[in-house]
Symmetry: C2
Subunit: 309 residues, 2 copies
């Protein structure tokens, strides 16, 4: 019972994953980058910073996932307006493709305030939800031609324009810059900066001892006085005399800005929404990448900046 | 420096994952199915069986991954020839899309003979390679509109034509039929059948005791006399008086034929290429799905058949 009106299906597509290169000079090799952003709120500073990235936009696909709540609806509207403006603007600014997903589960917390987000008791549920959002995004958007994935949080408002080239130049499977925050010192009234993301670290014996005493579903968290890990935090490893490209090995990574070779995800590295070696989300991702025999690298002197609420 | 000749980028795509249904009547709801097959060898019986599946082909995307070796090259050529024939044939037989990936890592064993594949010492390396092949396939092909994923091995040569509808009708997140093999009994010269896949099981205290004594990287394997697990195997749970649709809960699943709601993968469920609770590949996948709070179900009386080498 074939009908003449139905369009014939598209031809077969065949991809030779060997022909997709992943090199320290991706621009030269026209490598395709997927920038992935879970977004609870829209910040203009994020979009403006994204636009000034000078890796060829025609090689960049953007993927977003936004929660299904009032705040997520507002963020989606704001994002779509900016996307429409950009994709109708100068050809060189337009991105190859923009994919916007609405997540089909409820985020666990109604409040997105920083103090509420960071409460210890809320962290496990919150990081499980964040992990699932990140997993939905990567499973749904990663294609056969993608060489690199850049995870970039929606509240990263300042990076060098050469962020992609700089991170790729290290040719590391997983690499993370140092996430800081600008603020005005209320005593001196000076513009200063302080570390923001404490999820990039090197493991410690204290953390391993804490983990050994935990139940299988318990998780270690960084930055809580109740649970001193004495891990070596990349946040405190800035040594500017060593230059922007100074590398350190890491056992946990943050996800505010995080560059990953697509093959690391293709091997199976995802963001554990459950306790994985007592770690979750981006920290668990690092552990998982390591179980897949990849390594994680930090750039303590290479800074990106988080919005200050 | 914009140029007039460059085509403008495609419009933004926005997907509301809430609008993609996953129901017990997928055909009625025009739900999209992704059939995924890791393929080391091409069997005509697999293709012929695939063609007789009567779920609307226009709702089915096929995804394959084949190794980069001599045997994989031959299988790719044979597969492509059949795909070309089908996609040029009657409209109703054509699939929505066919994606063929070539894996960019070497399979660990040169021999694909059944006896060699099943040797205990070879299993860990082999199942890690299989896991990575499956992960590459799911990460690369799963799209935002997919409702269900049917994993179907390349040597499954006989299933009911209603396989997809039948499995979906249970509305279970992960569901697996019983994989048997036809053979000729050499004593009686009768055509008979025997269980083939022993990866679908219910856990036992013996298996848990064995696991508790193992090193963190060790794995439990089913069907090896050296390692008696006394798990309850679905292979031996056939009770035909209970009908085709009799369900049993499972703690491990095989992947010869395996139906998964796409959201289970989107939450992060992949095939662990490393020891995960002393499990790997499809058995580890079941454990991971369970850690993500999904359940796994077996249909002991619903049979599919594996090629007999
Ligand atoms: N899709 C989605 N994104 C979220 C959700 N909660 C936070 N985000 C985004 O995920 C990223 C990290 O969350 P954020 O609250 O900034 O974490 P923090 O800075 O580490 O406290 C940011 O880009 C948020 O906009 C959520 O429930 N769903
Ligand atoms: N891509 C890929 N597929 C493989 C490889 N080895 C086996 N396969 C396929 O994976 C599935 C399971 O492998 P098989 O050898 O049949 O496993 P068994 O029947 O459990 O012994 C089958 O569809 C094979 O064709 C490999 O190295 N790469
Ligand atoms: Mn943030
Ligand atoms: Mn087989």
């Amino acid at each position: 019972t074939s009908t003449g009106v139905r369009a014939s299906p598209p031809p077969v597509v065949r991809y030779d994953m060997n022909s997709v290169t992943v090199t320290k000079d991706p621009e030269q090799n026209k490598e395709k980058i997927l920038i992935l952003t879970p977004m609870a709120r829209f910040y203009q500073g994020y979009w403006d910073n994204l636009l000034q990235l000078n890796y060829p936009h025609e090689l960049i696909t953007l993927g977003f996932i936004l929660p299904k709540n009032k705040e997520g609806n507002a963020a989606t509207a704001a994002l779509q307006a900016e996307v429409a403006k950009t994709q109708k603007g100068p050809i060189d600014s337009r991105f190859k493709e923009v994919i916007i997903l609405r997540q089909d589960f409820e985020p666990p917390l109604t409040s997105q305030d920083e103090s509420e987000r960071h409460k210890l008791n809320n962290q496990k549920e919150r990081r499980a939800a964040m992990s699932k959002a990140r997993n939905s995004l990567i499973f749904t958007t990663l294609g056969p031609m993608t060489s690199w994935v850049l995870w970039l949080d929606a509240d990263i408002v300042e990076t060098p324009p050469t962020l992609i080239q700089d991170l790729a130049s290290h040719d590391q499977p997983v690499i993370v810059p140092n996430c800081f925050q600008r603020y005005t010192n209320s005593e001196t009234n000076q513009d200063e900066e302080r570390p923001y993301d404490f999820n990039s670290w090197q493991d410690s014996q204290s953390a391993r001892d804490l983990a050994a005493k935990m139940g299988p579903d318990d998780i270690l968290l960084e930055g809580y006085a109740e649970m001193p890990t004495y891990r070596a935090l990349m946040a405190y490893m800035v040594e500017e005399n060593k230059g922007m490209h100074h590398e350190v090995p890491l056992d946990g990574v943050g996800g505010t800005a995080l560059m990953v070779k697509a093959d690391v995800h293709r091997d199976g590295a995802m963001f554990p929404p459950f306790s994985f070696y007592h770690l979750m989300e981006t920290e668990g991702f690092c552990k998982m990448a390591r179980r897949l025999t990849w390594t994680c690298t930090g750039l303590p002197n290479y800074k990106v900046y988080h919005y200050n609420e």
